[in-house]
């Protein structure tokens, strides 16, 4: 399968640095867009994928680390590489803890930077794939009826059909019907598979998908699970 051309975004207020980096990335057959401040970058029309961001910590308007924080909040699959003429240990630690791929000091050896970009792009591809999978999962979950969701929640938390029936006040046969419906709509091959899917839907880092009613939220799945604590 052919991969989409990687895009490297560069945010640095110095023109020499911006243009040199862009030329380097273009020479690799990648795409590259440059911005001279955080505001210009944040105003970009749309996100290419896969993509990564090469950024200086000191920008005219917003600190590079603040920008990194903003991007993390928006859950973009755009890993960050810092390249800066000014770096101290605390700053490096903060950047790396916040998930930066690398923290490089100018002037940077081209190969070092290219390695970091390759790593960042690989991360971006993985993140996009995970996001796509999660979105598909959430869409399938949203297609379940409310009762199917309730049954799925209880079944995947370890209850037997009989217990589920008792919990919900319905017959065991009805439980089996809803359970089969949920399994089919979720595309699960087995009960363990369904349990894995439920666990993924519960994870709090998942981006939220919309559903026909309020039960699409992961929280609903988690809360109904807590309801039947012994």
């Amino acid at each position: 399968m052919t991969q989409a051309t990687p895009t490297v975004y560069v945010v640095d207020d110095d023109v020499s640095v911006r243009e040199a980096l862009q030329l380097l990335f273009l020479s690799m057959g990648w795409r590259s867009h440059t911005f001279d401040c955080a505001a210009a970058f944040l105003a970009r029309p749309r996100d290419a994928r896969p993509a990564c961001l090469v950024l200086d910590v000191r920008l005219p308007d917003l600190g590079g680390l603040d920008l990194q924080r903003r991007l993390a909040a928006e859950q973009l699959a755009m890993p960050v590489i810092f390249i800066t003429g000014f770096g101290d240990v605390p700053m490096t630690v903060r950047a790396m803890k916040a998930g930066a791929v690398e923290f490089l000091i100018k002037p940077v050896h081209n190969e070092t930077l290219l390695d970091a970009v390759r790593q960042a792009i690989a991360r971006s591809i993985d993140a996009h794939r995970d996001q796509d999978n999660m979105r598909a999962l959430q869409e399938r979950y949203a297609s379940l009826s409310p009762r199917e969701r309730e049954v799925m929640t209880l079944v995947t938390s370890g209850l037997l059909n009989k217990e589920v029936a008792g919990e919900l006040g319905i017959s065991e046969i009805t439980v089996k019907i809803h359970r089969a419906g949920a399994k089919r709509k979720m595309g699960a091959a087995s009960l363990p598979d369904l349990v894995r899917m439920a666990a993924r839907l519960r994870s709090t880092s998942a981006p939220k998908a919309r559903g026909p009613d309020n039960d699409w939220r992961v929280g609903a799945l988690a809360r109904s699970h807590q309801r039947e604590a012994p």
Binding site: D14, L23, L24, F86, H109, L113
Partner: protein, 260 residues
């Protein structure tokens, strides 16, 4: 930068200020030089990479080498400006007429293509008293302010573009030069950041930054300010004490022992 004549008194506070300013200034210089240096290293590496390609990309390599040269020239400009800045010491100061300095700077900068489409108005006060200091350095400051003003104004509609250079006798014994633009203006945050050593302006090319400008003015015992206009745009100004009368009477050769 704060080298003074031996006959001048130094207070303990003054020495401390000088030390910390040098610290900050050194960091600023390092940063200013490091940027084009990064460009050079990256571009040279890219040039080699393109030559090593199969087949070699000569056109790309040429572009990379050209950019490295441009970056090198940029770094040299920074060094050149700094040399001019540190070359002169106040004791060897000359008498400088700010009107003459302003006229020279405006005339010289007309040759800069990117900025020439913004006209500069001059409102210079007659019989402006001279100041004592380095003509080269003060002209650098005026040039910096002028470039900033023109850059700020370039984004504005052609009819409203305006940069005004004014000189005036200030309060007390001072002399003031201001550069007003009708550009986008400043907000409190930008004003605050403007004078930090590593705040660089948006454009390509350079000149001394505002941090160094202020350092020069303060070294001349003056002060540099920026403020938002009542209308659009901002005004940057500096004021300097007028040259002492003894200095004026004795001309270039330092204060004489007795007048007359």
């Amino acid at each position: 930068m704060t080298v003074r004549g031996l006959d001048e008194q130094k207070s303990p506070q003054e020495l401390q200020w000088a030390a910390s300013r040098f610290d900050v200034l050194a960091a600023s210089i390092a940063h200013e030089v490091n940027q084009p240096l990064t460009g050079i290293v990256t571009n040279a590496g890219t040039c080699l990479r393109m030559l090593d390609a199969d087949p070699p990309d000569a056109a790309g390599a040429r572009e990379a080498a050209r950019r490295a040269l441009r970056d090198g020239r940029r770094a040299a400009e920074v060094i050149g400006c700094l040399r001019a800045l540190f070359a002169e010491e106040p004791p060897a100061a000359e008498l400088v007429d700010l009107n003459d300095a302003a006229r020279e700077v405006v005339a010289a900068s007309r040759g800069e293509p990117a900025r020439s489409c913004v006209p500069v108005q001059m409102e210079l006060e007659d019989d402006l008293p001279p100041v004592a200091g380095s003509r080269v350095q003060l002209e650098q400051v005026i040039l910096n302010l002028l470039r900033n003003a023109r850059d700020a104004t370039a984004g504005v509609a052609p009819g409203s573009r305006r940069v005004v250079v004014r000189t005036a006798c200030g309060g007390g014994d001072g002399v003031t030069l201001s550069v007003e633009d009708a550009g986008a203006g400043l907000d409190a945050e930008i004003l605050d950041r403007l004078f930090r050593p590593w705040f660089t302006t948006k454009r390509a090319g350079m000149g001394i930054g505002l941090f160094v400008s202020r350092a020069i003015i303060e070294n001349h015992r003056g002060s540099l300010h920026a403020r938002q206009n009542d209308g659009p745009g901002a005004t940057f100004s500096f004021s300097l004490p007028r040259a002492p009368r003894s200095r004026i009477q004795s001309g270039r050769h330092g204060p004489s022992a007795h007048p007359g």
